[in-house]
Symmetry: C2
């Protein structure tokens, strides 16, 4: 069953999504890319054609769309005959794109929680503030809506579910670790939209420990992890989307998220934050112009998509899971290692975009095949992990495990 | 002869100028304060009344004025009967205010070179790019225009002239050192308009050495100075207004300027500069808003005037002068030490504003008395230094000297 896919967004992740959809066009059908700036969509279309990524000849088109405009989005879904919408646009458009999908009866997915432009770091449970409020209606209408199906959140949720299903009788703690050991050669850049990237780190750090939300300050709790391939790396406890759904779905296990940061990143971030330049609240210049400082910081930073050509090195993202199996304590690390250069050669994007963009395509293929077409709203750990991880292993993001028995690839077929 | 003074600007320096004019209202007459934001002028008027700074009852009034509007400035000069204009507004308005003074036949002074908003760090000689082009016309019309009569430039130029006149047969090198050993208790702030402050340090560093302009990068050349009161301090070679006029007026002596910077300042500055946030060239946000990054940085930083209440510690600014006297090598350090807290108690401003704001009032008094009413354009080292330094010693900025014979106050009367 071919589905036809509408991709919302035209950044580095959208580029990966488009290439991966094209590589699987026999399963997914037509590909439409829509964003406010149609030129960026056209550049992706050209890149797909240049790399001859299309497996079979399908429609591959660029569209201008303000995704906050629900009626316009509905019209585009209808006119393109799309049955699956992969939303990898700004996190501000989630709720309006979801609305459009619910009204037109098509599948929805995204890779990050909804955010309102004027709020920063809402209180838990984040999904509960927006997306989950539409869960009952999705179920009633039979809408498949898969939330947070990038790498983290997304694949790491599947890792947690896999651990719970296959490796533990009882999981007691999940520590998700995200290390980018790559080097883009710029003075400073964020790997995602700077606006979203910084907003993640300017608020309170939430973690789920001892059956309750715990709060810390950013960079308050750091820890060195010794990881496969990338070695010893310092990471800091950070608030992150997946903590909020996993806290509900992992039988009360502790859930923490750790993001790797170099001293240089922390220094730049600290300077910008302390000066007030990461604020989403407008300030007025001496000339009377109202402007949001964070948007100016975004404007001066390199476009994350522009980092790809020179990017070298690897990422390592995975879940340290602790618990009990057959009455004994156990610990496993389920993870993926991705390579920036390899990602660029394959799809013209850097590794961070690659790890975020491949999973929603795998999810789309599972919706197309029916395996994940669950006719309701779901977070990734609520879905069977094995077909997802199996497919990911085949389309570019293989899963490995490291435990007492060694470090080895996992196979699911 | 009473002159009536029009003060352009309403920042921390203007506040000092207003108080000092008030304390000498018997000599200077009426005081008018004009700036774009009339509320800021009114606040200064209130502060002068609150501290009962007026020596004699004169008119003390606030006015709204866009000082780029030459006709409006001329009209205000005429309607207030002002005979001396003290321009301590933005450096962008120098040429239009000077024009208004030349057209109305009144005396002009400022404390920094003219700048164009869209240029940064022009090539030497800075004064030659703008102000000096009006020198012939000033002479012809008999206009007294004193350029750069703050502390540095200004008092340090008078120190150089004093050294040349009284302490040396031949001066070979002048090293002007500006150390602010004060602490304002904020994470980061500039002591002057951030826009002007940062622009000083984002371009090429010019110095006059071996009879020619030499160029360096900012923070390339650092040196520790051991100074009276403030002790050992690291300072960096910096481009600064006074180098440009002193290079012409000191018989070929080397002229260098050294500004004290702490590591924290350098770190914040470096981050902002490398990110492009100190740029005076507009960028466009994702939403299409055109904005100058530097103006946003200015908007988020503390207003320099707001630093005054909590400011503690001292400044030390002076000239290390080397040369020959009676065939022997000699070195003197002519300097002033000012106290932030004392400045705040006297005039409600911090020490940096105090050192910049008192000198133009001394100059105004010398114009009123005729001693500096030279009927032409002049840089401070072209004027007799003794009456100026004598007056400064009496109104808050005493001069000291340190040389082989010890460290002592200088008296000029």
């Amino acid at each position: 069953m071919k589905k036809n896919v509408l991709i919302i967004g035209a950044g580095g992740v959208a580029q990966v999504v488009a290439h991966k959809c094209a590589q699987n066009s026999d399963v997914l059908g037509d590909i439409h890319i829509a964003s406010r700036t149609v030129e960026k969509c056209r550049a992706i279309v050209e890149s797909v054609r240049e790399k001859k990524s299309l497996k079979t000849e399908v429609r591959l088109e660029a569209h201008a769309l303000d995704a906050l405009d629900v009626e316009a989005t509905k019209a585009l879904i209808a006119s393109t005959g799309s049955k699956i919408v992969i939303n990898v646009g700004s996190a501000f458009v989630n709720m309006s794109v979801l609305r459009a999908c619910m009204d037109t009866g098509v599948a929805y997915m995204d890779t990050a929680i909804h955010e309102e432009p004027n709020k920063i770091c809402e209180t838990p449970p984040w999904y509960g503030n927006y997306e989950w409020k539409r869960a009952a209606e999705c179920k009633e209408k039979g809408i498949t809506a898969i939330l947070g199906v990038g790498f983290d959140p997304g694949v790491v949720n599947a890792y947690a579910r896999l651990a719970k299903d296959d490796y533990f009788d009882k999981v007691t703690a999940i520590d998700i670790v995200d290390i980018n050991a790559g080097n883009h050669g710029k003075y400073f850049a964020t790997n995602f939209d700077p606006e979203i990237n910084f907003r993640e780190f300017t608020g309170v750090v939430y973690s789920w420990q001892k059956g309750a939300w715990q709060t810390n300050r950013m960079f308050e709790i750091g820890k060195e992890f010794d990881l496969p391939v990338v070695g010893k790396r310092k990471a800091y406890m950070t608030g992150h989307d997946e903590i909020h759904s996993l806290s509900k779905n992992m039988d009360g296990a502790d859930v923490r998220f750790w993001m790797g940061f170099g001293d240089h990143y922390i220094n730049v971030f600290t300077v910008l934050k302390n000066l007030g330049l990461l604020s989403e609240q407008p300030v007025k210049t001496a000339e009377g112009l109202e402007v949001v400082p964070l948007k100016v910081v975004k404007a001066v930073l390199p476009d994350p998509a522009s980092l790809a050509p020179g990017y070298e090195g690897k990422t390592c993202i995975g879940d340290f899971v602790k618990g009990f199996k057959d009455g004994k304590e156990r610990e496993v690390f389920i993870y993926n290692v991705a390579d920036h250069k390899q990602a660029f050669e394959e799809v013209g994007s850097q590794g961070i975009s690659y790890t975020a963009g491949v999973p929603p395509v795998a999810a789309a293929m599972l919706i197309a095949s029916g395996e994940w077409d669950v006719k309701q709203m779901a977070n990734v750990e609520e879905l069977p992990p094995r077909p997802f991880l199996d497919l990911l292993s085949r389309i570019g993001l293989p899963t490995r495990i490291k435990d007492a028995e060694g470090d080895r690839p996992l196979s699911f077929s």
